[in-house]
């Protein structure tokens, strides 16, 4: 019998139950979704790291490594495996595409995972194991012949396998590119045998070892490994740990970004869901008080009644959680699927969704907590004797408030007084309405503000800072400074030189610029374009933050592969895509830093054929890759806007109905006295609108705060400055206000159906 009552009561309070189920489902969905996103990424990337032997350390040398060097590294205690490794950008013959030609002597380290075709063969004389994503983007099939060129050399063979590699998990040609573009850039593995065959003996004799890198699997920490490697090799080398590689750092950045998102948005949604549950369950139990008393009077034990009413909360918790699991996995799939947003960035073989174990415990905790809320709400109504329980629930008695003594209050109209006192009397309901509005506003400001921030970031870094049409990359190792300057002169371009340096034990890029044609520009921390002066070095914000440096301080660094050591004044701090040190060529000359020109930036339409030009990159191709990035961003923002609107509607409607129910009798009285429906409706809406205006005012700084928190959490990936455009404010305010007004009107329409006679017959 009680079961029948349970379902009938669920139906009777269907609006409230549906609201609570939606809120729980949203909270659980967002919580699970973001956790599924980062954890799936972590598990799936680990699979490919393990399958392809992703290296823990990379030792670099301009002169290359001999087999003896490799053996010395392998002999280090704590090194489990190592390989000599080569990665060099080559051109695809008769095409403008670039491929990272890769050779790993020991395929157990930094090797490949074959997705189709023949297994990788380290003895194969003419086989290409090509990136499957590049092959798909360019319509290249297994068995197809391919010729690659590097300067005057060419390597020909057939595509024998389509592969993925953790070394190219995020396949970017350089740090100016944000998103991979497999239609123009990919990677290809060949065997050491094929490499040997492709390089003429004379050339090999001249340049020594081709392998400029040793990749190492080791459990040592970086300082210990660096010390051991330097001792084993007899000199200081540039050594980068996996944290300093794009494939690891960016993927981990995505994981951390997911963790950050999973720690902010779900908290907001779950907190609102739980608060909605508290206020609504209390209200339902208050409405049911005489029935609760009747059960008690009939002889039902308190325990039975508690179980019966707690079951309502359990049902809400279970249905909400089940729906939330569906939403969570849906959200996870939306971000993490082989054809989805993340797949345009990370080149993984498997996109299986996983939820971290703790999420299931949290979900059980949420269900238990919701049940506990139900339990507490009923227990409150069961207090005292059966006669006490039989008495209808009476809301808190009105007390005079301090502000009522003011003349201004006394001059207020009755509607204003009525609403003001009602807000104070039903504090929980008013607070929940406020939180709902603030939540809606925070999501809108946060979501749309993120878009503004990214738009401004792209505008300043790419539209304004990149003022050239073409970047020409040069073979710096094989050309003199004078040759480079002559080439830059002929192209009427600005130029840059790049060197790997270390500050402490961390590797950075030193970028030396000569800007005379305003083709390359620099951005300060206030997102203004500034010229570089010849007074010192400029550092990126991340270096300034990590090493506590500011303009006027001294910065010490040393280039790898050399015994040089430089201490220079910091002239300024820049926001930059590249994590590095920047200076003018004039200052570098003054400081005695040697360099070779590695890139020329030009507006020249016709770049001549030149043996030292490796490749060219157009501004257009860089910008195109952002479209994919922005598309991803826009989808996320749409999701946030939809979530904000749903949250706003559900919370405000639920509370609006609750307010309507609680004031039903008062409204019936007003109606009897002679107030018209429209007037009563306006009274109801005005309270909602006050709270909305207050919520908007609180939501504005709260939204900025949440956005700033997100940007700070993302600071290791991008140097983003918070930007909020007037359109974002306008849309956020109007949408929040609109949601509140529409919900207010929906609730206010109900007062037409007030049964004056029935309402006034009931006992107070």
């Amino acid at each position: 019998m009680l079961l029948k009552k349970l379902f009938r009561t669920l139906w009777q309070y269907k609006a409230q139950f549906i609201s609570m189920v939606i809120m729980v489902a949203l909270g659980v969905g967002v919580f699970l979704g973001f956790n599924v996103e980062w954890y799936s990424l972590e598990v799936n990337t680990k699979e490919i790291y393990d399958a392809t032997g992703f290296a823990d350390y990379r030792i670099y040398s301009d002169r290359g490594f001999s087999p003896q060097d490799l053996e010395a590294v392998k002999a280090i205690d704590g090194v489990s495996d190592a390989t000599r490794f080569l990665s060099i950008n080559v051109s695809v013959k008769d095409d403008t595409d670039t491929l990272a030609l890769t050779v790993s002597e020991n395929s157990a380290v930094s090797g490949v995972l074959v997705m189709a075709g023949e297994p990788y063969n380290a003895e194969d004389p003419d086989g290409f194991w090509l990136s499957d994503s590049y092959a798909a983007a360019n319509g290249i099939a297994l068995g197809q012949p391919l010729t690659l060129t590097y300067q005057t050399l060419s390597i020909s063979g057939t595509v024998k396998g389509l592969v993925k590699s953790s070394e190219y998990l995020i396949c970017l040609p350089d740090s100016t590119q944000m998103m991979p573009d497999y239609s123009t850039y990919g990677f290809v593995y060949i065997s050491p045998v094929m490499l040997d065959g492709a390089i003429p003996a004379l050339y090999r004799a001249l340049i020594g070892s081709l392998y400029h890198q040793i990749n190492v699997k080791s459990s040592l920490d970086k300082p210990a490994f660096v010390e051991a490697a330097d001792r084993a090799l007899g000199t200081t080398r540039l050594i980068l740990s996996r944290d300093e590689t794009v494939s690891w750092a960016e993927a981990q950045g995505e994981v951390n970004e997911g963790k950050t998102m999973a720690s902010i948005l779900p908290v907001l949604f779950l907190a609102i869901a739980i608060l909605t549950m508290v206020t609504t369950m209390h209200r339902i139990c208050a409405s049911e008080k005489t029935q609760i008393g009747t059960f008690k009077a009939l002889g039902f034990k308190d325990r039975r009644i508690l179980i019966h009413y707690s079951a309502y909360a359990l049902i809400i918790g279970l249905i909400g959680t089940l729906l939330g699991i569906g939403i969570g996995y849906g959200l996870g799939w939306f971000i993490m699927n082989p054809d989805g947003a993340m797949a345009t960035y990370i080149d993984m073989p498997s996109w299986t969704l996983y939820a971290p174990a703790f999420t299931w415990l949290v979900l059980l905790g949420i269900i238990a907590f919701l049940m506990f809320i139900g339990f507490l709400s009923v227990r409150k109504m069961l207090r005292g004797t059966a006669a006490d329980a039989l008495r209808p629930y009476s809301p808190r008695r009105m007390k005079h408030l301090r502000f009522e003594e003011t003349k201004r209050f006394k001059r207020l109209g009755f509607g204003t007084k009525w609403n003001l006192r009602d807000c104070v009397r039903h504090k929980a309901r008013s607070l929940m309405t406020l939180i709902g509005v603030v939540g809606c506003m925070v999501l809108l400001v946060g979501g749309l503000g993120m878009k503004d921030t990214m738009d401004a970031f792209l505008d300043i870094f790419y539209e304004k800072a990149i003022n050239y049409t073409t970047r020409v990359n040069l073979d710096a190792e094989n050309m003199t400074l004078a040759e480079g300057k002559a080439l830059a002169e002929s192209l009427e371009g600005d130029w840059a030189a790049s060197r790997a340096v270390q500050i402490g034990d961390r590797g950075y890029s030193l970028e030396i610029y000569s800007v005379s044609h305003d083709l390359v520009r620099f951005v300060d921390q206030d997102m203004r374009i500034i010229p570089l002066t010849d007074d010192g070095a400029y550092i990126c914000s991340r270096i300034a933050r990590d090493f506590h440096l500011k303009p006027g301080d001294e910065l010490s660094f040393s280039p790898y592969d050399s015994t040089e050591h430089y201490t220079v004044p910091v002239a300024g701090v820049l926001d930059s895509m590249t994590e590095g040190i920047f200076m003018t060529a004039a200052f570098a000359d003054k400081a005695g830093i040697s360099y070779q020109i590695s890139s020329v930036f030009t507006d020249s339409q016709a770049v001549p054929d030149h043996p030292r030009i490796l490749n060219q990159q157009s501004k257009r191709s860089i910008m195109d890759s952002f479209d994919v990035f922005m598309d991803l961003m826009n989808k996320m923002i749409w999701l946030l806007v939809i979530a904000a609107v749903i949250l706003g509607i559900v919370v405000l409607y639920n509370l609006g109905v609750m307010s309507y129910t609680e004031r039903y009798r008062e409204m019936a009285t007003l109606k009897v006295v002679g107030f018209q429906d429209s007037r009563i409706g306006r009274l109801l809406i005005s309270q909602n609108l006050w709270l909305t205006v207050l919520g908007i005012f609180i939501g504005m700084p709260a939204g900025v705060g949440v956005l700033q928190y997100l940007l700070t959490a993302l600071a290791s990936e991008y140097e983003l400055k918070l930007v909020l455009g007037p359109a974002t404010w306008l849309v956020s305010v109007l949408l929040t206000f609109g949601v509140s007004l529409v919900v207010g009107l929906m609730v206010a329409r109900k007062n037409r159906h007030i049964d004056m006679v029935a309402a006034l017959k009931t006992a107070e």
Binding site: P395, R397, M398, K399, H400, G413, F414, G415, K417, W418, R421, D422, R425, R665, E666, A668, T669, L670, K671, V672, V673, G674, F675, Q676, D677, R679, R752, M756, V757, L760, K761, T762, A763, E764
Partner: protein, 233 residues
């Protein structure tokens, strides 16, 4: 002169196939300035009659004329205007707004009534001038009912409709309230209509209407109604 006329008024409530005739072809004419009591057992139709008269409900058939105006065909908004201008209500359970003080509860009718009276005056008339800044929950039942009467009177209505106005009060407080209502009729010329099942109240009425099964069983004028003090409570 008749202030109220019911002409063949019926009110039928339908719930699926079930039909309940709360008022059954009622004809009635009431004079202005009288103290009228409608008597009857529970479910007789007396409250329905009062609700029709107060514009809280509309008849299924028939016509209700109040002050020469047919109220049976008014729209919901016109009925609201009618309630605001012509009738005052006093309920068994007071129905005050708990978030407004005594004076605010009475003064709120100024927002809608075309010719409202002074709230302070009305509260003085019901003897609550010292309680005007208190909330309803700070008053006794009798005091709350007096506020309710003051609010009804503040609209300056022609008719005061009272549904079991003493039902929730002890006899002593009930007498006070009835005295007050009676003085409204005698001193202010208001038409007071009280619905009750308390036979004693009928003894002080100018007119006693008995209702049973939705029909008027009798409508008697009493030439010599008793004073409140003369009634054995």
């Amino acid at each position: 002169m008749a202030i109220v006329e019911f002409r063949d008024v019926s009110r039928v409530y339908r719930n699926g196939e079930h039909e309940q005739r709360a008022l059954d072809h009622v004809n009635l004419s009431l004079e202005e300035g009288k103290f009228i009591v409608i008597l009857g057992p529970s479910g007789a139709g007396k409250s329905t009659l009062l609700n029709m008269l107060g514009g809280l409900d509309s008849p299924t058939e028939g016509t209700i004329i109040v002050n020469g105006k047919d109220i049976s065909t008014l729209t919901p908004n016109e009925l609201a205007e009618y309630r605001a201008a012509s009738v005052g209500f006093v309920f068994q359970s007071y129905n005050l707004i708990p978030t407004l003080t005594v004076i605010e509860n009475v003064a709120l009718v100024k927002e809608i009534a075309p010719n409202p009276l002074s709230s302070h005056e009305m509260l003085r008339a019901v003897g609550l001038e010292d309680h005007i800044h208190q909330f309803p929950s700070e008053l006794s039942g009798g005091e709350q009912q007096r506020v309710s009467i003051a609010r009804a009177l503040a609209k300056n209505p022609h008719i005061l409709l009272c549904d079991e106005p003493t039902g929730a009060l002890d006899s002593e407080t009930g007498v006070l309230v009835l005295k007050l209502l009676l003085s409204m009729a005698r001193d202010m010329g208001k038409t007071i209509i009280i619905v009750t099942h308390n036979q004693n109240i009928a003894k002080m009425a100018d007119v006693v209407i008995r209702v049973k099964n939705g029909k008027i069983r009798s409508c008697e004028e009493q030439a010599h109604p008793l004073a409140v003090e003369e009634v054995d409570w």
